[in-house]
């Protein structure tokens, strides 16, 4: 176990290099195929789209590290967006601005996501039901609430102080990209420097040993899912402010992408392995590819199939290495 973990440290940097190399190759390839790809506009669009999917992937990585998965993240983000939108539309008249109300709305968004994470964690940890099944059920419940309160409709007309989170920039850098970098850095610190982060990874690689070494399994799992909820809420805020709308069915295709990027970035679906930096480089690679395929006008269904192939390929490569 010891020598393996030492090796995986070296392997991690090796994998990062591979991802960066692949990204460069892709950028060069797309630039040759379509010179207009190599422009400030397309990199700005990549920088605007990375944060959402990146935060969703980090939210997916946490439960995967303990050997679980969270299928409810997108549904939860949509519910949070809807509740934030309803709150703002109710207390801020159209066309006016009211920053305290917007901040309160953001608080509601975070609270909802953390609460859903808490419930997921409780059912998984206390009743010992596989995370996949629990979050599947939770996804139905949360989507059901969203559909019920919106009657299947779409909310819009949010104040500018809210929508500027996902559309504004500071010194040319999109605000959401700054949020993503800070959130990623915080998670990096949590994972490497706190006992919680280290126990979390330990628990993923060997449940029994971690419990015998004096870790409260139930509290660890619940806290993991609550932390995942925080990242879901950040993604929800950025997503709804960028789209300036909220609905029960938004961003449904992000779920598969988050799993794909997590696996691409070296997160082991069996638990125990996965790094924030790996996810970061994988998001960059993925978004360059997605934007490039879009610029090349590749059929969107072929893109879906391609994502499936990449998922299986990266799993295959990983299995071979082991």
């Amino acid at each position: 176990m010891n020598s393996k973990s030492v090796r995986s440290g070296g392997l991690g940097q090796h994998e990062d290099l591979m991802l960066i190399l692949l990204t460069i190759i892709l950028v060069v390839f797309f630039s040759i195929m379509k010179p207009s790809f190599f422009s400030l506009a397309s990199f700005a669009s990549i920088a605007r789209q990375i944060p959402e999917i990146g935060l969703f992937t980090l939210a997916m990585m946490l439960p995967m590290l303990v050997g679980g998965i969270d299928l409810s993240i997108i549904a939860t983000a949509n519910l949070a967006s809807i509740l934030m939108g309803m709150f703002m539309n109710r207390y801020i008249p159209k066309g006016e601005e009211n920053v305290p109300v917007v901040i309160a709305a953001l608080g509601i968004g975070v609270a909802v996501c953390v609460l859903v994470g808490f419930l997921n964690g409780v059912i998984i940890a206390i009743f010992r039901i596989p995370a996949m099944l629990v979050t599947l059920g939770m996804q139905m419940v949360v989507t059901g609430i969203s559909l019920g309160i919106t009657r299947g409709g779409t909310l819009s007309g949010f104040p500018v102080s809210f929508t500027s989170i996902g559309n504004g920039d500071i010194a040319g850098i999109p605000i959401q990209f700054i949020v993503f970098l800070i959130a990623g850095a915080v998670l990096l610190v949590i994972m490497q420097m706190t006992s919680f982060g280290i126990r979390l990874k330990m628990y993923g690689s060997n449940h029994t040993a971690t419990v015998y070494s004096g870790t409260n399994e139930i509290s660890l799992l619940i806290r993991t899912h609550m932390l995942s909820g925080v990242y879901v809420s950040l993604a929800a805020i950025i997503m709804s402010s960028r789209l300036t709308s909220a609905s029960a069915g938004a961003a449904a295709n992000y779920l598969m992408r988050a799993i794909l990027i997590a696996v691409l970035g070296g997160v082991d679906p069996n638990g125990g392995k996965g790094r924030v930096m790996g996810v970061f480089w994988a998001v960059l690679l993925f978004q360059c590819m997605a934007t490039g395929l879009n610029v090349l006008r590749v059929n969107s269904y072929i893109v879906i199939a391609l994502y499936g192939v990449i998922l299986l390929l990266s799993v295959f490569v990983r299995t071979k290495r082991q």
Binding site: V142, T143, G144, G148, M256, I259, I302, V315
Partner: protein
Amino acid sequence: MTKQSSENKFTKSYEFMLLVVVLALVAVLAIATGGRSIQPENIIDMLTSNSAYGVIAVGCLFVIISGGIDISFMAVAAVAQYVMALFMLNVGGNFLFCYLIVIVTGAAFGFVNAVLVNRLKVPTMIITIGTMNIIYGVMMKVSGGKRLHGFPSWFSSKTKLSLFLISVGTLIAMLAVAYWILRKTKVGRKIFAIGGNMEAARRSGINILKVQLFVYGFAGAAAGLGALIKCYLTQQASIEALYGDEMDVLAMVVLGGVSLSGGKGSVPGTLLGILIIALLGNGMTLVGVSSYWKDLVIGAVILISFCITGWRVIQTQKKEKRGGSAE
């Protein structure tokens, strides 16, 4: 689970609890709708419209007992449906051909899943998400998203009897076959064995790949059969008709008592799971609850059933511990 289970054990089993829930649901709905829900016509309607997903659920049951989960079944079903529809439109044939085509097509995709699951050491869900996306993406491109309809008269002229036979008849046959396989055959015991402890099963000489080929092939064939029923009911075939309803099927299986990590699950349980989902859907329509709340109700029922199942397991473990220390 064997014959020694006494009557006392039966009343304490998960299936008995489900049976009570089903009966309670029937009673409550009958009162709430003033008896409309228990009229034969409504019951036949309800069974007919739920049998397609019921058949698919039986296939999923096998996968879940073997310790995996398959998300790609709806994509597989859609392909089988499309191939069958193309065959009918271009060649003709009869019902026997239809059944053969969907079974073979479904099983073929199942075999691909099985090989991937066997070779790649990651949770089966990740793998089947991959195959699902590939199948869906390629089929949407190939078919151009077109809906196929206008089938030959032997397929499109529905009578009440043929409708009932094709839908509910297939479901009953499927349940019977599944029950027989799981309870009476060697391969059935092997499925439970690899779901309970794959390493132990391997060391006791079970060829894991063979069992997985059977399990995923069976699930694929079941998905194909479900697609045939759906096509017969709606008289059209399209790739998008089934895609996206994965949760409705998984809900049936999960409610049927497979909730605890592989090696467990039964055909009667799944039948009751199918009935609960059917009753809930039908009941909400009759009572006049907006369909927007459907997901919430079914999801909540699933989560509550998890909590009850988990709580019961914890209680029995506690009891065993106490019993052990007393001795």
